[in-house]
């Protein structure tokens, strides 16, 4: 690990002032991604600004039924919180499907949003990787790409965003609140992540000196859930995941939110599928048509073409379970 200076920020004003003044500085939350990347020399900050003592650890109800989550709330606490479990089961389930209990106890909301890809070539300093070294090439495209993206890919990068939590936040229309010396701004999650295009090293709308201070989630009345498919039953990143909320009235879809994980460089909001579903009968046939519409532009590689069918089936299965629930089929006592 390259040596760095360490500053612990007592308040938000100090945190944003230090990050703006020090060239090549980075915030550290739980450290579960940054320490790993620094140890591999992929991240090499000169200054590390510790934000874990900032008073951004509240989960508050907002007028209008939404919830505001401080950026330093730990993943385990968010998943266990009464408001999240009752109003946004999809968010609680998504967090609990990720990493391990030890990691969730350390990981923060802000760090989870900004965790970097698990593409093995990104981690391997000897490999060509446009994300790590712009212009060097992409060893994943002709290499081992079982875990890689099928939607929104470019000729320069096919990496995925590995978060589970963020897939739920994408379905929930969350907003990210960020603060810098220039002031406060709000970025809808839909605009927060960038697709790789020709610049896969630019991943988000965040400036290097901006601090994530909170995430806001608007009210949700529809039943919701998260489903993750992976190589082992627990403690593995998603091959494909689906975050969904579905409301069915008199057999017709009256509200639907759908997002996919493991398939793109960002949590993928499935707008095409939603457009097919809204107003359609809540049947397997509609779910299948919606899933096909969403995955229609998908581009598979030799190792990951299976994800296209897997994503469609996981969408159908998740929506079916939610619609059965709103029809009272198999409802738990």
């Amino acid at each position: 690990m390259k040596p760095f200076a360490y500053v612990s920020a007592p308040d938000v004003a100090t945190a944003v002032r230090v990050i703006a003044a020090e060239p090549n500085a980075k915030f550290i939350g739980g450290g579960t991604n940054l320490v790993d990347l620094m140890r591999e020399d992929i991240e090499q900050p000169d200054t590390v600004v510790d934000i874990t003592r900032l008073p951004l650890t509240e989960i508050e109800e907002l007028p209008g039924g939404g919830v505001r989550v401080g950026a330093l709330v730990r993943n385990s606490h968010l998943a266990a919180h009464r408001l999240i479990r009752t109003r946004y089961p999809v968010l609680s389930q998504a967090i609990l499907a990720g990493a391990s209990a030890q990691l969730r106890n350390m990981a923060t909301v802000g760090g989870n949003l900004l965790q970097r890809t698990r593409c093995p070539y990104f981690y391997d300093g000897a490999a060509a990787c446009n994300k790590r070294v712009p212009g060097s090439g992409c060893d994943a495209i002709g290499g081992f790409n079982r875990n890689h993206a099928v939607l929104g890919v470019s000729d320069d990068c096919i990496a995925t965003h590995p978060s589970d939590m963020c897939v739920a936040l994408a379905a929930l229309d969350a907003t990210v609140e960020v603060q810098s010396v220039r002031g406060l701004r709000r970025v809808p999650l839909a605009d927060f992540y960038r697709l790789p295009g020709g610049t896969p090293h630019l991943e988000t709308a965040l400036e290097p000196d901006e601090l994530i201070t909170a995430v806001e989630v608007p009210e949700l009345t529809a039943p919701s859930s998260y489903r993750k498919v992976r190589d082992r039953a627990s403690y593995a990143f998603a091959l494909v995941s689906v975050a969904a909320a579905l409301e069915v009235t008199d057999g017709v879809v009256t509200d639907v939110r759908l997002a996919l994980g493991g398939v793109a460089a960002k949590p993928w909001r499935a707008r095409q599928a939603e457009a097919v579903l809204l107003g359609a009968p809540a049947t397997d046939e509609s779910f299948r048509r919606a899933a096909e519409a969403e995955l229609e532009p998908a581009v598979g590689r030799p190792d990951n073409t299976f994800k296209i069918e897997l994503a469609q089936r996981t969408i159908v299965a998740t929506l079916r379970r939610l619609s059965d629930r709103s029809l009272g089929v198999g409802r738990m006592a």
Binding site: M1, K2, F4, Y6, G31, V35, S100, A101, N105, A233
Partner: protein
């Protein structure tokens, strides 16, 4: 070099360390508490699990400086019925993962007791079934495959 204090197994210790030293290396190499093991050094195996203010964490991904003034418990500071249960149920073979398993199990029992859910918790359910134990302990790998004994040991203590 940073000077900081930390409570380790109930005693306040002073450390002079570089900010890039992990909590795991600080415990093992500066405080000579070698009971906590380094498996992967990447957060992927759980061998380095310790308790920070009673919560289980992976000490390999923790910078020691971030834990200034915190209360750290390692296997050397633990006396708990789970230890005897591991012996009685053959919860280990080589023993390399065991200190992490035990710290993790203690943290897990506290989380469960506080009503924290896991990925397999059904709405309204409160028990610690075998499925619950396996899911909640999935952050601790055992290369010897002593999982059945580990689960039995935890079941006995949870009862």
């Amino acid at each position: 070099m940073v000077t900081l204090r930390m409570r380790v197994n109930g005693t306040t210790r002073s450390l002079d360390i570089e900010p890039w030293v992990s909590l795991l290396d600080a415990l093992r190499e500066q405080l000579d508490l070698t009971g906590t093991k380094k498996g992967c050094d990447q957060g992927a195996c759980g061998a380095c699990t310790v308790l920070a203010d009673g919560e289980r964490i992976n000490s390999c991904l923790a910078l020691a400086v971030q834990y200034e003034d915190r209360d750290i418990t390692t296997i050397e500071g633990i006396t708990h019925p789970i230890q005897q249960a591991f012996i009685e149920h053959d919860g280990f073979q080589c023993g390399y993962c065991t200190s992490g398993q035990i710290c993790s199990a203690i943290g897990m029992l506290a989380e469960h007791g506080a009503g924290m859910p896991s990925a397999v918790t059904e709405p309204g359910a409160t028990g610690l079934s075998e499925a619950e134990i396996r899911e909640r302990m999935s952050g601790n790998l055992c290369r010897c495959g002593a999982y059945n004994g580990i689960v039995d040991a935890i079941k006995e203590v949870a009862r």
